[in-house]
Structures are given as C-alpha cells and as structure tokens.
Amino acid sequence: MTDPMNSESSYRPSPSRKPMAIAAIAVLVVAFGYLAYGGVEENLVYFLTPNELVAKGAKAVDRPVRLGGQVVPGSVQWNADALDLRFRVTDGSREVVVHSSGAPPQMFRAGIGVVVEGKYTRAGVFESHSLMVKHSNEYRAPVAGENHPDRLDKTLIRSSGA
C-alpha cells in the first residue's frame, strides 16, 4: 500500500514536476490495469457441459468450473448421516461423476437439471462446493388436485391444526 506521507515526488506543484507526476500516475494506472486483467483471467469460472469438460481434459483440472446438465437416473447415492452425496451429470453424450458434501436442495432428484460449481480433479471426479437446481421462473398454471411429490404430506399440515 502506498503511504501518502512518502509520495512527495509525485505531487509537487512546480511545473517541471508536473509531467513526472502524470507519468507516475499513468504507470500506476497501467500496472493496476494489468494486475486487474490478470486477476480476471485467473478467476474466470467457465460454464461447461459434461462433454466440454471431458473434451478439455487436463486443461480443465483444478480450475473453477460451473458444470450444467441433468442428474442421471439411478446414479444418486446419498448418505444422510455423513452428508455425503455422489451422482452423475449428463448432457446426453457424456457423463461426469460429481461428489459433494452437504445436503442437496429439497428439489434435487434424478432427471432434474442442475448446475454444480467446483473443480474437476485428476481422479475424474467433479468436487462440487455448491449445487443448484436449475429452476424455471416460468409460470405454470396450478393443476387441480395436483400433489407435488416434495410438498409436505397433508397429514403433517392437518396434524399441525392449520
């Protein structure tokens, strides 16, 4: 960090120093811009499909990635006590094994679209630290008598007396 106490040279008012001050600021700005640009490149999170991820191979390993696809039916292994979740994500052509610790969202199930954020490891497993269910904000007219599988049993609502 720059200490304003020690920066006399760049802020002297005398006319001969003025170009120097401008040059110093210009250098600072360019250096800062370069740093910032490098920082962006380093921290880019790519949106990839399983196919693209596999195609990238070693280049995609250990880089932050958002992987989008569908949960392969029958691939979900969920250990509620250890909070350990394992499933496969597909885009129709390739599958990637995803591992995450922590409870999946309530809507999570086989066949649903998901976006997982994390890193692809050498072992070929995608270690995810965040799992989102792809939701549509589209309005869907409620169907009479419809009972959503994830909504709490009416028994619980009745037993609560509400």
Binding site: N6, F32, N43, L44, V45, G102, S136, L152, L156, I157
Partner: protein, 652 residues
C-alpha cells in the same frame, strides 16, 4: 377504463416534456422569461401526471384488473394485499413506471426549490431533467408498456416472483434504491446545466450539487445495506454479498458518488479538480443507467434475453447519447474547468483526498471490469464465463484496507500544509491502537494479514474520527465553559457538514469491521436430525430439532422446523426456519431463521426434509458481529442527514 387513464397520463407527460424542453431552450436562447417559466410548469405537471399513472396502476393491481398486461403478469388473487401493492416494482414494466415517477418527483422538487435562482443554471438543468424523464416515458409507451391490453381477460394471474413476496424488506429496499439511483440524475442535470449556462467556473453550482448528491448517496447507502440484509434474510446461504452483477450495479455509482463527495470539497476549498468532478458526476449518472440496463435487460443472467426484448437497445442508445453530450460539453468548457489552485504539500488533506479518489476510482474500475467481462467474453470469444468472487476479493480487499487507513488520516490532517510536530501529535495514539490490535489479533491466533490490517486500520480510523469530536468539544468547553452534551450538540450544529462526515466515516468503519469479523470467524455445520435429536455446533452451543410442521396459506404451503437453541444443555431460544412452496413456482423459497445478539447471529436454514416429517437437514451458521453491519449502515445515513441538513433557511 383505468388502463386508458394510466396510459393517457404517460402519453400526455411525454408530450408535456417535449413541449417543456422546447420552451426552455427557446426561452433561454431568445431571453424570454415567460417561456422558461412555462417550462418549469411542465415539470410540475409531469409529476402530477406520473402520480396519476402510478396511482392508477396500484389501483389496477389491488382490484385485480387482469385485462392490464402488468397486472396479468404479476398479480394474483391469492397474494396478500401488501405484496400486491409493492409488486408495483416487482417486474420490469412496473419498475420503469415507478422509476419514471421518482424521476418526475425529483425534477419537480429540484425546479421548485430553485425556481428563483438567477441565471441559466436551473432552466438548463430542467432541460436535462425533462430529457431524462422523456427517455423513461418513451420506454413506458414503447418496450416497457405496462398497460397493454390482455384479451381474453384471464381469471387469475401467477402472482409476483416468490422471492419478492417473502420479506418485508422488499417494501423498503427497492424504493430506497430508486431514490438513490434516480437521485444521481440531479447532480448530472446540474452539471449539464452549469456547462450549458456557462456557469461551470463558479463554485455556486458545486455547492448546490453536493447537497443533492449527498441525499441521493444517503438513500443509495441505505438501499445497499437493506439489499444485503434482504439477501441475508431471504436467500438462505447465510451471506450478504456475492459480487453478483445486480449487487455490483448498485455499488458502482455509490463508489463514484463517494469519490465526488470528497473531491467536491477540494474544489470548494482550493479551486482544484474541477474537470475531475464533472467527470465523476457524469460517470455516476452513466453507471446508474448502465446498472439499470444490466439488471433490467436480462443481459447478465443470460445474453439471450437480449434478442427477445428490445429495451436493452434503448438503454444503450441513451447511454451513448448522454456520454456524447457530456463529452462535447466538457470539451467546450475546458477553459472554465481549469484548476485555480495547486497542491502545496504532500502531507495535507487535499493529498489524502486525491488518494481517496484514486483508490475509489480503482475500486470502481475493478467492479466494472469484473461485471462486464463476462459480456465481453461471450460477445467476442463465444465462451460462457462468470468472474468469481475470489477476483473481486483479491482486488478490492487491499483497496478497502487502504481506504480505512485514509479515513483516519484525512480528518487528522489540515488543509494546505502541516508540520512534523503536528503529525507526531496526531498519530501517536491511533498508531498505538492499531499496533495494539495487531498484537492482540496475533495472540488470539489470527493469521490473515488483510483481516488483521483491516481491524488495525479500523481501530486507527475510529480513534482519529472520534478524536475530532473530542478536540472540538474540549475547545468549546474552554472557550464557552459549556457542559459536555451542550458543547457536543452546538459543535455539531455549527459544523454540520464536517461532523456529519465524521459520523458517516464511523458508520463505514463499523460496516467494514463487521464484514471483516463475520467473514473471518464464520462457522457452519450441517446435519440431518430426527425430532428430539440434537447436534453440537460450536463451544457449548447446540441445537435440537423439536418438531416439524406444515401450514396451508392461500398463496403457498409452508413447511417449518421448530429448532431449540441450547447453551450448556439449557434451552435459550427457539427458531423456526421454513421452506415455502408457492403455487406458481416449482422451486421452494427458504425462510431462514435468525437469532441476533450484538456479538453475532445464529442462523438456521432448513435445507431438506422427509415428507413424513421424521427428519430434517439443518444448516446452522454462526455469524459473528453481523448485526453491526446493519447498525453501521444506519450510522452512515444519520451522518449524511446531519451533513446535508440545511444550516439555516435561505431567504431569497
């Protein structure tokens, strides 16, 4: 009927603003005072017309008139009336209408309070204001028309986005944001007015502008804090800031406005930085429009939204227009924008302000870069990317630390020049406090350098700003023999701007320290529990799932978990995190439960459950010192109010 009334009001306002712009320009160029006066009248009439339009829309929402496009889009017979009213700003068209109304209100207040002012500044500013109004009216009759007819009339609608009808803060955050955002158009209008009227060389306009910027800034500060709070209370991940493009959109103009509030003082005191100040005002305004473009065109979450809607092009065209007009005006006035003073010494308040501006613009640059980069990458490289939070944190944390340091140094340094003796006297105590904090942090086992520096400089700056009050009170006591409370009140009353500013500093320092603490010492644990089962969290704190319950409401089904908080085995509190299933959407919306104490929050989110109510997965987060963020935000606003309060009634 109500549809025609609302639409007609906007169309008439559109015509009135065109007439007002022509009348003002004609009157100014031909020196016809009555024409200028009639232009002012159109500004007031505009406000009345937009008020009619907004009231009509609220009436339509409340009476569920689904023949109106916007009502059919966000209304629902099941939604509680309160959320029906505030769904006015719940989607694109309504928010543009609300925006237009706030813009018309600001224009009317600005023109009314300054109508007797001599010279061309206010008339030209009213041209700028009317032009901005006109832009929003064009949106309202064009791509964002909320009044279009829906036929056949639907019996019911989907209701507002569930996220927007789940918390009371949705009634507070958006209006505050609009007051802040739209308020930044006023300084811009004054700058354009001063440039067009040839009054840019006088300092009069900057004084006027500073006060308006300050009030808009206060609203924007509150809005950002309220937005953080909303995100914390509703989204369920236990955080309050994610460097999301929508958050960044509100933050970018805040940064440039903050820079302006400081550099304007340099211009008033020393006649310097005139060109820079005009640029900051213009940038702030353009960033508000850019922010609206980002959040309203849907371009950020998905670039494809661009092809379905045309509103994005309108915003881009308006940004281009405002940019070109500003550049031409600034270039044409380079003589009036020349600096009169110069820096005398490195160790002076002006220098600190220069660094403050350097860091704040650097900060803005980082946020703009990180926010716009994905758009550029997709447009030119065809790759879908986001810029991760680590980028923002890595780039901005050092800047924040530097700004904390400057917040302490600035108030302690006099204008122009200072002596070594003065420097020593001023900085021994704060430096000792800073060193003490570092030592304490090291002893307590903290190893994060930036976290430590943030705490140290926060302590440093708090001491510096508090001492300004102490010095002032002591001086009054010596001079007038006043009691401490009396001396304090009179001190602040006599120098509102200055002491209000220090108060705002203290609020910002509080927010910064609380953010550092909550992100450094955050702790979370997740477990699946059966009713009656408990889990240890941290120390002697544990939680126990008492029971699961369900509730039917008109617009949603609610599932909740009653969770007891135990300290040392004794129940000290009960929290009820919930999950809400709105009938119009598949995705459930969480309502995390928070127990707040000054030392921090216990935050519980219901993650998942089995439909028979026999188990629930809970995430428990310990969030140290988070309430101080909200408190600090209030202090910032209070400081701004003290600072902006008129010293005495001006008689004209």
């Amino acid at each position: 009927m109500i549809r025609i009334l609302g639409l007609a009001a906007v169309w008439v306002a559109l015509g009135m603003s065109v007439a007002g712009i022509i009348a003002a320009i004609w009157g100014l160029t031909r020196q016809r005072a009555p024409l200028v006066a009639s232009a002012f009248q159109t500004v007031y009439v505009n406000f009345a017309l937009l008020t009619i339009a907004v009231v009509a829309m609220v009436y339509a929402l409340v009476t569920h008139d689904f023949s109106i496009g916007y009502v059919a889009q966000v209304g629902s017979r099941n939604t509680p009336t309160f959320y029906t009213v505030i769904s006015l700003w719940g989607a694109l068209e309504g928010s543009i209408l609300f925006w237009g109304w706030v813009m018309a209100m600001y224009s009317a207040v600005v023109v009314w309070t300054n109508r007797h002012r001599e010279g061309g500044l206010v008339p030209w500013a009213s041209v700028a204001l009317l032009t901005i109004c006109l832009f929003f009216y064009i949106l309202l009759v064009g791509p964002a028309n909320p009044w279009h007819l829906v036929f056949p009339t639907p019996a019911d609608g989907p209701g507002p986005n569930p996220l927007l009808q789940n918390h009371i803060l949705m009634a507070i955050h958006p209006p505050l944001l609009y007051l802040g955002y739209v308020g930044m158009a006023v300084p811009f209008a004054f700058a354009v007015g001063a440039l067009l009227a040839g009054e840019i060389h006088s300092d009069d306009w900057i004084k006027l502008t500073r006060r308006w910027t300050l009030s808009a800034w206060a609203f924007l500060s509150l809005a950002i804090i309220a937005g953080m709070w909303w995100s914390y209370e509703v989204l369920g991940w236990g955080g309050y800031w994610a460097w999301d493009p929508v958050e960044n959109a509100s933050f970018m103009p805040w940064l440039t406005a903050t820079a302006f509030l400081h550099s304007a003082m340099v211009q008033e005191r020393r006649g310097m930085l005139k060109l820079w100040n005009v640029n900051l005002i213009v940038s702030t305004f353009l960033l508000t429009i850019l922010g609206t473009f980002l959040t309203r065109s849907g371009i950020v979450s998905s670039v494809h939204a661009f092809t379905t809607g045309t509103i994005g092009y309108y915003f881009l065209a308006f940004i281009a227009l405002a940019l070109v007009v500003s550049l031409v005006l600034v270039a044409g006035n380079s003589e009036g924008l020349r600096s009169e003073g110069h820096l005398d010494a490195a160790a002076s308040r002006e220098t600190v302000f220069l660094f403050n501006n350097l860091f704040l613009t650097g900060f803005t640059f980082v946020v703009v870069l990180g926010t716009l980069f994905p758009l550029v990458a997709e447009a030119f490289k065809g790759v879908k990317v986001t810029v991760g939070a680590p980028f923002f944190n890595k780039m901005t944390i050092p800047i924040c630390v530097a700004l904390l340091f400057l917040m302490g140094v600035g108030p302690s340094l006099p204008w122009k020049a200072t002596s070594r003796e003065h420097l020593r006297k001023m900085f021994i105590l704060p430096a000792a406090v800073a060193i003490g904090i570092v030592v304490l942090a090291l002893v307590l086992g903290m190893r994060d350098v930036y976290g430590m520096l943030a705490f140290a400089f926060a302590g440093f700056a708090i001491v510096c700003n508090t001492r300004e009050y102490v010095i002032g009170v002591q001086a009054r006591r010596r001079a007038h023999g006043e009691m401490i409370p009396v001396a304090f009140v009179r001190l602040v009353a006599a120098n509102r701007r200055r002491y209000g500013g220090y108060l705002a500093h203290m609020g910002i320092i509080t927010v910064a320290a609380a953010i550092t603490a909550s992100s450094s010492f955050r702790f979370e644990r997740e477990a699946t529990l059966k009713p009656g089962q408990s889990m240890p969290v941290k120390g002697d704190l544990s939680v126990r799932l008492k029971t699961m319950w369900g509730k039917d409401e008109p617009q949603r089904e609610v599932v909740g978990a009653d969770v007891e908080i135990l300290r040392g085995g004794k129940v000290v509190g009960l929290l009820d995190p919930r999950m809400n299933f709105y009938r119009s959407q598949d995705q459930p919306v969480p309502t995390p439960a928070v127990r707040s104490r000054p030392t921090g929050d216990v935050y519980i989110n219901l993650m998942a459950y089995t439909p028979d109510g026999q188990s629930a997965t809970l995430r428990v987060i310990i969030e140290p010192f988070v309430p101080w963020i909200w408190f600090g935000g209030l202090v910032v606003a209070l400081g701004a109010v003290v600072s902006a309060w008129p010293a005495r009634r001006r008689t004209v």
